[in-house]
């Protein structure tokens, strides 16, 4: 049996300076955790690995179920004619809300992100996130600013776009939201839109002639 007055060096270090060793371990752990967190955490991130959804196929992007059928570029939609220099990109599809409470137009806009450039918000400013300028009920041409639970609409997603920026094909990312309490006011709502699927569509080209707007 070893002489108790001369313990082995390793055991001795821990025994003689327990606080220092403990502190060193703690600091190491903190540094590792901090570095991992600062670099984005351990969750897998692969933005290009979005599930590809075919046109006409329904996809889930909580709280919505979305179906996009076809896309066309046009000068006229739901009785509105585009201003000079502008046109519309219109997507026909379906939108259902699978949630317990109504959502507003912002949540709808965050869920649908097109890769179109030079599009506009409903207020006329530049659209930065690819959200549609407006959502229109296909059946009657009225605008849908948000929707209520359990309702399914055939919709037209309309992007107001510079005529010169109309593409021949487009891709729409569907983003899902998380239901959680807000950090500041603790009110529960749909936050953190994050892409889950993407749909590629051909865009039917603009007609040759711009329709003549009836003088008022």
């Amino acid at each position: 049996m070893p002489d108790s007055r001369e313990p082995t060096p390793r055991r001795g270090l821990l025994r003689r300076h327990p606080w220092v060793v403990g502190a060193a371990v703690l600091v190491t752990v903190l540094v590792v955790v901090g570095t991992v967190a600062a670099l984005g955490g351990l969750a897998r991130t692969s933005p290009d690995d979005l599930r590809a959804v075919a046109p006409g196929e329904e996809a889930v992007a909580a709280p919505f179920r979305v179906r996009l059928d076809r896309a066309e570029a046009t000068y006229e939609v739901a009785g509105d004619v585009a201003d000079e220099g502008l046109a519309f990109v219109v997507l026909e599809g379906g939108l259902t809300l699978d949630a317990e409470e109504s959502v507003d137009r912002v949540v709808v806009g965050e869920a649908l992100s097109a890769d179109l450039t030079s599009t506009y918000t409903t207020f006329g400013g530049p659209e930065q996130e690819g959200a549609p300028t407006s959502v229109v009920v296909a059946d009657d041409g009225t605008e849908l600013n948000g929707l209520g639970p359990g309702l399914t609409y055939d919709v037209l997603l309309v992007w107001v776009i510079d005529e010169a920026a109309v593409p021949s094909s487009m891709s729409v990312r569907l983003r899902e939201h998380t239901w959680r309490a807000g950090f500041i006011d603790k009110v529960e709502a749909w936050f953190d839109p994050s892409p889950v699927a993407s749909i590629r569509l051909e865009v039917a080209p603009l007609p040759d002639e711009r329709p003549v707007e009836e003088p008022l």
Binding site: E100, E101, S102, V103, D104, R105, V137, D139, D140, T142, E143, L144, N145, G146, L147, G148, P149, G150, L151, T152, Y153, D154, A181, K186
Partner: protein, 193 residues
């Protein structure tokens, strides 16, 4: 068993019982963000009842269902059912109106997002004001619908809220699907036109 052992066992037993009780209790306490003291004061009523909401009285006068609603000459066709609620407001001491209106069925809530809308002007105290709120809901929600009406759309905490059973049935949902387009009724001041 000697006295000391028994004492230790007794302490352990009491500790376990207390832990158990504490766990049970903890499950029933509101979480740290809940504010039950600030809950709205719900006043439950039926169509035709006058409901006292402190700063005003409200009364739901009529409820109608339809699949197509006409407003400002524009027809809105719903994939579900339009529910049109006509109600009367009488302010108590100051000009007041109903700015908050929602339909509820079970846990689901239909607010004024989408094409739903509430039209209610603030009338002077003692004067009847006719208001209209209309919502589109899925057909299956119609039989259980209740309407919540209150003064302020931003803050419901501590405020009085009318919780009124609309008394609709599945038959109303069906009938609504076959009805001709309904014009949104006008609001009115003083007396119903």
């Amino acid at each position: 068993m000697n006295g000391r052992r028994r004492h230790q066992l007794g302490v352990g037993l009491v500790g376990l019982v207390l832990l158990g009780l504490a766990t049970l209790l903890d499950g029933r306490l509101p979480d740290e963000d809940a504010d039950p003291g600030a809950d709205a004061f719900l006043r439950t009523a039926a169509v035709g009842d006058r409901v006292d909401l402190r700063t005003m009285d409200v009364r739901v006068d009529a409820v109608r269902t339809t699949s197509a609603l006409v407003r400002f000459g524009v027809e809105m066709r719903s994939p579900g059912v339009w529910v049109v609620v006509e109600y009367t407001v009488v302010a108590t001491d100051e000009n007041t109106s109903v700015a908050y209106a929602e339909l509820r069925a079970g846990d689901r809530v239909w607010s004024l997002d989408g094409r739903s809308s509430n039209d209610c002007s603030a009338g002077p105290p003692g004067v009847q004001v006719g208001c209209v709120a209309y919502f589109e809901v899925p057909r299956d929600a119609v039989p259980d619908l209740r309407v919540w009406l209150a003064r302020d759309v931003v803050e419901l905490r501590y405020d009085a809220v009318a919780d009124i059973d609309l008394g609709l049935t599945a038959a109303d949902a069906e009938r609504g699907g076959n009805a001709p387009p309904l014009e949104v009724p006008d609001t009115w001041l003083g007396e119903r036109p």
